[in-house]
Each structure stands twice: as structure tokens, then as C-alpha cells.
Symmetry: C2
Subunit: 177 residues, 2 copies
């Protein structure tokens, strides 16, 4: 089934942020990319903030989906959730490598209230980690490093190149056994 207009608008907004940066995210442009009029956009989203809310939700859903997929394929044992996070964090096709997330968060930094759902997501992750990590500090440190990796990608920064990145992943996994 073809995506609903609602989804098409979010897709368009994502594309704009990814390709042109947050500052270029306007209702007019989103409408243009989505192939509808501004009125159409404002029918589905009461305001620009509302549109950003929708984008955040989309991001959360993607994260959730990815981590669940990896979790299922992960062998059981201690640190199962932490190991899941490491693998998900290094998946080049996952959200972790999608620049849209960062630009989105940048947009949110303008209106911090819109971060609430993200905080909720972190809370649930925290619960998951607690449930199967023999050493919560260890798990927290590794997962925080995954956030650091994400941050570096967002900012277009690299502390290490791609093959060093692979060694980093292995090192992180070694610490989780």
C-alpha cells in the first residue's frame, strides 16, 4: 500500500533536514517535496512544532524496530540488551547512520519540550539494560559510547576511521562477556 499523505509529509520533512539542514525545514518546502500544498500540510499537522513531533515519533519507532530486530537475533546470555545496542549502533543501514536523526534533534533543541518522548525512550532502554546486565556501569558506559558515536556522526566528526571503528565495535563486545 502506498504511504498515506501523513507519512509522505514526514518523509518529505526528513529528506529536507537530511539534505539541506534544519534551517531549511519550512512548511512550504515540506509541502513542495511531498507534492501537496501548504494547506494540506497544515491540515495534517496543526503547526510546525506538531510536524516535528511527528518526525520525532517516526525516529523513535525506527529505533524501536531496529533494536527489537537485533535483540531477537542476539544469542541469549548476560548483557544481551547491551550487545544488541552495540550491534544496532554499528549497523550502517540503521537509524544510527541516518543523518536525519541529528538534524532533527538540532531542530528540537529550539523547542526542548519536544524531547520528552526521547527521554521516555531512554528510560525504557535503561530498564532493559538493568534487566540483564551483571554490571550496570559497564553496560551504561558502553551504551553511552554508542551515543558518542552517534553524536560524532551527527556532527560530521570522526575520532577514528572505519576500520578502527570495526575494532572499536569488537572491543566493546569483548567488554560485554
Amino acid at each position: 500500500m502506498s504511504p498515506s499523505t501523513f507519512d509522505k509529509i514526514i518523509d518529505a520533512a526528513m529528506t529536507i533536514v537530511r539534505d539541506q539542514g534544519v534551517a531549511r525545514l519550512t512548511l512550504d518546502e515540506a509541502a513542495r517535496i511531498a507534492g501537496i500544498s501548504k494547506g494540506g500540510v497544515l491540515y495534517h499537522f496543526k503547526s510546525k512544532d506538531d510536524l516535528i513531533r511527528g518526525m520525532v515519533q517516526r525516529l523513535i519507532d525506527q529505533c524501536d524496530q531496529l533494536s527489537r530486530d537485533y535483540y531477537e537475533r542476539m544469542p541469549d546470555g548476560p548483557y544481551r540488551w547491551a550487545r544488541t545496542m552495540v550491534h544496532a549502533g554499528f549497523d550502517p543501514s540503521g537509524v544510527a547512520f541516518d543523518p536525519v536523526g541529528g538534524a532533527l534533534l538540532a531542530a528540537i533543541s529550539v523547542n526542548p519540550d519536544l524531547m520528552a518522548p526521547i527521554q521516555a525512550m531512554y528510560d525504557s532502554w535503561s530498564e532493559r539494560l538493568k534487566s540483564d546486565s551483571p554490571d550496570m556501569e559497564r553496560a551504561g558506559l558502553i551504551c553511552t559510547a554508542m551515543d558518542g558515536l552517534y553524536f560524532q556522526r551527527l556532527m560530521g566528526i570522526k575520532l577514528c576511521d572505519s576500520e578502527a571503528s570495526e575494532r572499536l565495535k569488537q572491543h566493546a563486545l569483548d567488554l560485554l562477556r
Copy 2:
């Protein structure tokens, strides 16, 4: 000696970003806070991007200063630079806790070119780490976790509370010996 007008403008811009968010950073407001006119601002900074460039440079200088200070006080031995980063990253009075950095970076995400100096800073950090880390993966992982912490603070997210944060710091240092 009292700060030059140049510095006063950057101070004003920093204050705005810290207190009101990136979106509120305008030339008029910066001029108002700095106590001069918009024309004055545009005399010292050719454009708004130029002003942001100045802010980035200020941020880099602060980081550099802080890390040098900590390095000198750090006992010699393996991972000296990595240990420095951990201590600096957890210093509540350091740049790592100054929301201005994050908001600034958010502003930069609008114009990724302005990130170039930051990349240069990371390159030099990378060199420093290499110089005294027996295991570069270990050092890189820990420092990346510091970035993750910074990211979480920027986004108003907490994966762990403050006392857990102290344990995290200790755990990171334990891994560097």
C-alpha cells in the same frame, strides 16, 4: 583589562544561546546584550555565520584550556590523555556542562562547513590519545563515551542519574589502568 568589543559580542551571543536557545540568536539581540548597535556587530563580524565561527573558536579555546589544565595535574603513566578526558568530561564547571556548546553545535548543523575547526580539534585529540595509550581501542571507546555523555546532556537526556554518573566515571577510570 576589560574585554574588547569583539569579545563582548561573542559573550552576548553565548549568553543568548545558553538562556534562550539557538533560534533566538539574532544580530539585534546580540547587539542589545553586548550594549552596542547592530551596525557595530556587523562591523566586527561580516555576517551571522561569521559570528558563529567566532563562537566555535571560543568553544575550542575553552576546551583546549580545560584539557591542558587537567593534563598537567594528571599523574603520569599510561592513558594519561584518556584519563584527562574523563576528568574533564565530568567537571561540572567545565565546558562539558555548558549548554552553550550544544546549542552552538545545533546552530552549526545549519551550516556544516562551520564544523571544520571542530574536526581539527578532534584530530589533535586523536594524536594525543595515540601518543600514550597502550590500547587505542580502549582509549577511543572511553573518550567516545565522554562524547556520549555530552550528547545526552545537550539533548536533556539522562541515561543515568548523578550518583550513577559518579560510578560511571570510576568505572571508566578503572578501565584505564
